[in-house]
């Protein structure tokens, strides 16, 4: 049975926020839209599982999250070639190594060691970055965030706390972890 029109309209309305979420996860516009497309296809295939009492965005974001994790697992299983293709900037622990491309020259030389916001975001481990984005950017509640990521709410809380503190430290120009390599001068 095909998805009803009302469901398709709801899904269509959720696309802009799904795209924002995907882009904050994979950064590259085309890769992000690929992720959104996968999520939309899965949502349509399982439309009858959607409970209309729930927020469709939370449901769709959970699907996108699962699709992203599937993709990462698939890439991780592939030797070398796959690993290179997969988000070349990320290590297995999810912590990003900034590359020259990411660290765009800052607008003002005064900024010195301060990292660009997105570059700083990339340096956060995925397990901290995702809850932080879901709560800060997508304005999900901790409970919804826990549901999407399938982790306990206490874990959401501590990861947001650590993630936000780490982001602040990166933006302030000192490394949260002893990773000096993350603070290449960008001017």
């Amino acid at each position: 049975m095909q998805a009803p029109t009302a469901f398709r309209q709801q899904l269509l309305a959720a696309i802009p926020r799904l795209r924002r979420y995907a882009r904050s996860l994979v950064f590259d516009t085309h890769a992000a839209d690929d992720l959104v497309q996968t999520a939309l296809e899965r949502a349509l295939a399982h439309w009858h599982q959607f409970d209309q009492r729930r927020d469709i965005l939370v449901w769709a974001v959970a699907i996108a999250h699962n699709a992203y994790m599937d993709d990462r697992r698939r890439q991780a299983r592939l030797p070398l070639a796959g690993a290179a293709r997969h988000d070349a900037h990320e290590h297995d622990d999810g912590r990003a190594l900034p590359s020259a491309v990411e660290l765009q020259p800052a607008a003002s030389p005064d900024i010195g060691l301060r990292l660009d916001l997105v570059a700083a975001l990339k340096q956060l481990p995925l397990e901290q970055r995702e809850p932080l984005l879901l709560v800060t950017l997508e304005q999900l509640s901790y409970a919804e965030c826990a549901e999407v990521l399938r982790i306990p709410i206490g874990t959401v809380m501590s990861r947001i706390s650590r993630g936000r503190t780490a982001l602040r430290a990166l933006l302030a120009g000192h490394a949260p972890h002893a990773s000096a390599h993350g603070l290449r001068r960008v001017v």
């Binding site: 095909q2 009803p4 029109t5 690929d34 800060t136 809380m157």
Partner: protein
């Protein structure tokens, strides 16, 4: 008060604390400017993040993604992430997408007009929705009986055999839901033919506001049916016992919530459709009450 830990401060910023705890932290932050400054920095980072990434929200939905949703994508999966910029086809795609939207809007408007002008013609072909056929029958039954002044129901709510009769004929438990707390009272019910077996319709009517019924002395205690809102609950024995989550459909001014309960408190699986010309939220509130009452033992 002891200093709140970082987790608490973040939860405070995210609006996750209970009101009492929240005001405690409010007070503590007023007394601790350094901590307040830290929290302000987090808030500023959040604002910067949103400012940086909110731009996506204003971008038009790429036609390829809209195509996926409408099921009109011709093997898109084969060509992911090909930049469309500058490709001659991109203009065509845009034009096509716009045409689809305009056409969809026109069809929707036409349908709306038809439904409003002719409430009995809900089942008229051409509706793009693909909800189950029985949901369509529920909508038609609603449209047929709701305008009825003299014979809206077959058996009135006051007759105590109503529930027993319908339960026996449908072979599913027909419970008379109490929606009075939501402002609707039971008018009664009727037996209807479904595809292969009987189904039932329960009709509810909005309770006249106190004072309104007293003022309209002409119509008397029965209330003014012409102005009362009516909603109907359609029940049937489902084709299979697979529970289905709440689904929502709108047909012109009519909203429909439908779902299938695998097992109710009484035993058998039951398909429900709630139909009414109400805003989605009000209809959902009614649907949730019906769902809860269907779950509980009488």
């Amino acid at each position: 008060m002891t200093a709140p830990d970082d987790n608490t401060l973040h939860a405070w910023l995210d609006g996750e604390l209970l009101p009492e705890r929240r005001s405690e932290v409010d007070a503590w932050l007023r007394d601790h400017p350094e901590a307040a400054a830290r929290v302000r920095e987090w808030a500023a980072d959040a604002a910067a993040l949103r400012a940086r990434l909110d731009g996506v929200l204003d971008e038009p939905v790429p036609p390829a993604l809209a195509d996926v949703v409408w099921g009109t994508a011709p093997a898109l999966a084969a060509a992911p992430s090909v930049p469309q910029v500058g490709a001659p086809a991109s203009w065509l795609r845009w034009a096509a997408a716009i045409a689809v939207f305009v056409l969809g809007g026109a069809v929707g408007a036409a349908l709306m007009w038809r439904v409003q002008a002719q409430p009995g013609a809900l089942a008229a072909g051409g509706h793009p929705a693909a909800e189950p056929a029985w949901v369509q029958r529920a909508a038609v039954a609603h449209a047929v009986y709701v305008p009825e002044q003299r014979h809206p129901v077959e058996v009135g709510a006051q007759e105590e055999h109503l529930s027993r009769w319908l339960t026996k004929r449908l072979d599913v438990p027909v419970k008379l839901f109490d929606l009075r707390a939501q402002g609707f009272e039971l008018v009664g019910g009727r037996l209807l033919p479904d595809a292969s077996a009987p189904s039932a319709q329960l009709m509810y009517q909005s309770i006249a506001a106190p004072g309104a019924s007293g003022a309209s002395g002409v119509t008397g205690a029965s209330g003014n049916a012409a102005t009362a809102q009516r909603v109907t609950v359609y029940l049937r024995k489902p084709d299979d016992a697979t529970p289905a989550a709440f689904a929502y459909e709108r047909q012109g001014e009519l909203g429909l919530f439908y779902w299938v309960e695998g097992r109710s408190a009484h035993g058998g699986p039951t398909g429900y459709a709630l139909v009414g010309a109400l805003p989605r939220e009000r209809l959902l509130a009614l649907a949730e009450v019906i769902y809860r009452q269907g779950q509980s033992t009488p």
